[in-house]
């Protein structure tokens, strides 16, 4: 199985979905995304057999641009995350009906294609193209199928698009500049460059702008909550579950190896920013009235911690960041799905209008509770593994970072439990709340199963990502 096949499956899937018509579109999309997941598993098995999984072909001769894909352990992990979450996300949307659903599902599959491409690309420009491509589907998904007032939605979505595009264009400049130096966009060439420290600084900052907006790190996060709120839940899941990880992945894959000196010199600043995001996000989440907004800020807090971990430039930090990325991907998809399940029944996202659901829906309550617990990184869930490793790496840099970053344990529990209490507990709600349907339950169970399995046995993922992270670390340390 060739690495390009995976992308082709997804791309074909997008077209097939569009042309299969509104009625069949969800099923076709699910079929193709599952196929892609199977493909990713195939790739994984080949990788485990020690095969080099890469594809490279000269695309444009001048300037020299390759169509180069390479799947190392890290990229594979992220592709697996993408291809595993996409079917879940698609499946989770089966309870809703969307007008013009063929376009809707086609965009989802297309986005999955673009994001997989981003993770796999080993040529800077190809990577950039996929990076930007993934922005367009989510823009339309949020714009057309989003909820709330059209004007406000428009404002939020446009801000999101322009903001993220603004960041990435600076990244493009950095890439072009690097191309001048290296003569190609291939990552292997870019990481072999001997840039002066001031060059590295500016390149680092250009990348940083792109990633800080995408991740998002404080204070570049202002697009996030509104978009999460306004986008349809599927879009929010894609955004929070996978797309944010693109930013974090890129930090590890591109930013740090290319400009390690700057990363080292200003390490404290970037870790500090990440941790500031943790605290700030948690505190803001505390008093959110809208469930999706609350989850948005919680997500911001989590990714802040992940970013802080990545910027420690230690193996533990990177590994923890990747683990936490995957874990967060699953848990956040689950939580947003929970929000959607509630919305399907109560037609509201205002926490104040909920309450007393538990008595009516034991299954839903248990699953929601488990997701909440995973989100607050209860040991034996996957999130704990990631969070522990990240916090450990932070403590190696400076124990204060671990303490400040560790407040997520307290504050996270505070706002999540408060949210849970106000939504689920209390006197039985007068409005009827039907327990989860089979489909809804299945999607949640899959997510939960993943969280627990890797929470107790994260070794496969660790072994998958560690060699690639070690490679990246040697690149980072090449100036020493």
């Amino acid at each position: 199985m060739d690495v390009t096949t995976l992308l082709i499956i997804l791309l074909l899937g997008a077209f097939a979905t569009y042309f299969s018509g509104d009625k069949w579109a969800p099923k076709v999309a699910l079929l193709f995304s599952l196929t892609a997941f199977a493909g990713a598993i195939c790739l994984l098995s080949q990788y485990n057999l020690g095969n080099e999984i890469s594809y490279s072909k000269l695309w444009i001769a001048k300037p020299k641009i390759y169509f180069a894909l390479q799947a190392d352990g890290l990229a594979l992990a992220m592709v697996l995350l993408t291809t595993a979450l996409t079917p879940i996300i698609i499946f989770s949307s089966f309870g809703n009906t969307y007008k013009n659903s063929k376009a809707f599902y086609a965009l989802i599959v297309f986005m999955s294609f673009a994001m997989s491409g981003t993770f796999l690309a080993s040529d800077g420009l190809l990577y950039y193209i996929f990076w930007e491509l993934s922005l367009i589907p989510i823009y339309f998904i949020a714009l057309i199928w989003g909820n709330g007032d059209a004007e406000e939605r428009k404002k939020a979505v446009v801000k999101f698009f322009i903001y993220t595009l603004a960041g990435s264009l600076f990244m493009l400049i950095a890439f072009v500049y690097l191309f001048q130096k290296a003569g190609s966009f291939l990552i292997s060439d870019l990481t072999a460059l001997n840039l002066s420290s001031s060059e590295q600084f500016w390149i680092f900052m250009a990348f940083f702008l792109a990633y800080a907006i995408k991740i998002p790190l404080i204070p570049f996060h202002t697009w996030q909550a509104k978009v999460y709120q306004k986008a349809p839940t599927v879009g929010t899941m894609l955004l929070a579950g996978i797309m944010l990880k693109m930013g974090l992945y890129s930090v590890i894959r591109w930013q740090l190896p290319i400009a390690p000196l700057a990363a080292k010199e200003y390490m404290y600043v970037f870790i500090g920013l990440g941790i500031a995001g943790v605290i700030y996000g948690s505190i803001v989440a505390l008093k959110q009235k809208d469930l999706k907004k609350l989850l948005a800020y919680s997500s911001m807090a989590h990714v802040g911690l992940i970013a802080a971990g990545a910027y420690t430039l230690t193996l533990d930090g990177l590994r923890g960041a990747v683990l936490q990325m995957i874990a967060h991907g699953f848990v956040v998809v689950g939580l947003f799905f929970v929000a959607e399940i509630i919305f399907r029944r109560y037609e509201t996202r205002k926490i104040a209008e909920m309450g007393g659901i538990r008595a009516q829906s034991p299954k839903f309550t248990s699953m929601f509770m488990i997701l909440v617990l995973a989100s607050v990184a209860l040991p034996s869930t996957f999130n704990f593994v990631g969070e522990f490793t990240v916090l450990y790496s932070l403590s190696q840099v400076n124990v204060w970072f671990a303490i400040l970053g560790g407040t997520t344990i307290i504050l996270g529990a505070y706002y999540m439990l408060k949210m849970f209490q106000h939504i689920m507990l209390g006197e039985t709600n007068a409005k009827l709340f039907a327990d989860v349907t089979f489909n809804e339950g299945l999607a949640l169970v899959v997510v939960i199963a993943v969280l627990f399995f890797f929470g107790l046995y994260p070794k496969p993922i660790m072994e998958l990502i560690t060699p690639s992270l070690e490679n990246i670390l040697t690149q980072i340390n090449r100036f020493n």
Partner: protein
């Protein structure tokens, strides 16, 4: 040369057809003729020579651009049938003028003598004055024609003044001779002044700031098909000519000159983009967008020795997306008395294909990947950074960000607003042109080398 003759002949054939009452055949025949011209151009591309005492010099550069112009003209003429539905008696005139305009354009990129250059630019301009004012009962069209005429002839005067000084300095109109002499050390001051004046005249034609004021008004007032012509064909012709002129004159662009280009380029991008933000008329908005693109195209002049292929790529990408966008605009505003953005409300529901095409072409103009517009910008940035003008690229990037604001205004109107009325029937030609143009654009994005390698 053959190309030029063939084109002119085709124009006259158009007029003859009207006389011979073959009105129905005009458009098909012209299109077929133009495709044949494309073949001729290809022959010329393979055999660069000069004709008639260096009056016409067919080079790879000129052939490539001639080809591009011809393709654009094919699109424009294909669109004509439905656009001039109500003016069937005049259709031969319209088509003939467009063909002659193409002849002027070809003369402009393949001139070997400043006389050809000047005549070419005048044929082009006069055709445009006519087309701009062609809706004679419409006050806006009149005003557009008048404004364009006044300012255009003023600019022609400046260009002529410049040519005059070049002649004064060199004693010849022959580009080859001028090139040769311009390498000698002692040049009279007349020469740089002449070059500057000609350049300024061309700045006017490509609508660079501060010579851009005509563009929005004229674009808005002109009949939409004319606006299409101006924003695609004419802009491309002007920038190609300017490029050719500066390479041909082998003017060692002095630092001062480069600075001027930088300032004008940045100013054009900025003014164009910022002004476009608050426009309600789509044509006017695209006029400002065109101004900003002119700024981008001017960046090629910063590394003039090797940026020809970037220029070809950029212009092709830009004009193809322009054609696609205007095909949709023509469809939407066909029976409307204005081109306000509100006309596009709900297009995404009424006609998803057309909406998608417009969205795609706007994304291409904004420089979003996989569309050719992105690669155009990329190659341009690459070249400019290579030449060492990082500042310009940063300005360009900031401008790209601003530009998204107004391109998306249109997209938002299409997808986020409820339709005003029932969907209208789409003439087949609009579909065809729009689809072909956008597919070409995407194909260009996927295989940029096809165009890039034309000029090595």
């Amino acid at each position: 040369m053959n190309t030029l003759i063939a084109i002119t002949g085709l124009g006259i054939l158009c007029l003859l057809f009207e006389i011979l009452n073959f009105r129905k055949a005009i458009i098909p025949v012209t299109i077929i003729g133009l495709l044949a011209v494309l073949g001729l151009t290809y022959l010329g591309y393979n055999a660069p020579t000069s004709y008639y005492n260096n009056m016409i010099v067919v080079s790879k550069f000129s052939s490539v651009f001639t080809g591009l112009f011809t393709v654009l003209t094919v699109f424009l003429i294909a669109l004509s049938h439905d656009f001039y539905e109500d003016h069937q008696t005049k259709i031969s005139d319209f088509i003939a003028i467009k063909i002659f305009m193409l002849a002027g354009a070809v003369a402009m990129v393949s001139f070997g003598n400043l006389a050809m250059f000047f005549l070419g630019i005048e044929v082009l301009s006069i055709s445009l004055y006519i087309l701009a004012a062609s809706n004679r009962l419409n006050v806006k069209s009149n005003e557009a024609g008048m404004k364009y005429f006044l300012m255009g002839s003023f600019a022609s005067g400046i260009i002529l003044f410049g040519i005059c000084f070049i002649y004064g300095a060199m004693g010849s109109f022959d580009v080859a001779e001028i090139t040769e002499w311009s390498r000698s050390a002692e040049l009279p001051v007349w020469f740089p002044i002449g070059i500057s004046l000609v350049t300024i005249g061309m700045f006017f034609k490509i609508a660079a700031v501060p010579f851009h004021f005509w563009a929005p008004d004229v674009y808005e007032g002109s009949p939409t098909l004319t606006t299409t012509t101006m924003s695609t064909l004419v802009k491309v012709v002007a920038i190609a000519t300017l490029y050719k002129l500066l390479t041909a004159m082998n003017a060692d662009l002095s630092d001062a000159y480069i600075n001027i280009i930088i300032v004008i380029s940045i100013a054009s991008m900025t003014v164009g983009n910022i002004m476009a933000l608050k426009q309600n008329n789509v044509k006017r908005m695209l006029a400002f967008s065109g101004i900003s693109h002119a700024g981008f195209m001017l960046m090629t002049l910063l590394s003039i020795s090797n940026s020809a292929s970037s220029l070809v790529y950029y212009t092709t990408a830009y004009s193809l997306s322009g054609i696609a966008a205007f095909a949709v605009i023509l469809y939407v505003c066909k029976n409307k008395d204005n081109e306000d953005i509100s006309n596009f409300n709900g297009l995404g529901k009424n006609n998803p294909l057309m909406a998608a095409i417009l969205a795609a072409s706007l994304l291409s103009m904004a420089g979003i990947p996989i569309f050719a517009g992105f690669f155009a910008k990329l190659f341009l940035f690459n070249q400019v950074i290579e030449a060492g003008y990082l500042v310009v690229v940063i300005a360009a990037v900031i401008n790209s960000i601003i530009s998204v604001g107004y391109y998306f205004k249109l997209i938002l109107a299409m997808y986020n607003k409820e339709p005003n009325e029932e969907a209208a029937k789409t003439p087949f030609v609009f579909y065809a042109v729009a689809v072909v143009a956008i597919l070409l654009n995407i194909a260009l994005g996927l295989f940029p080398s096809v165009v890039l390698d034309l000029l090595g």
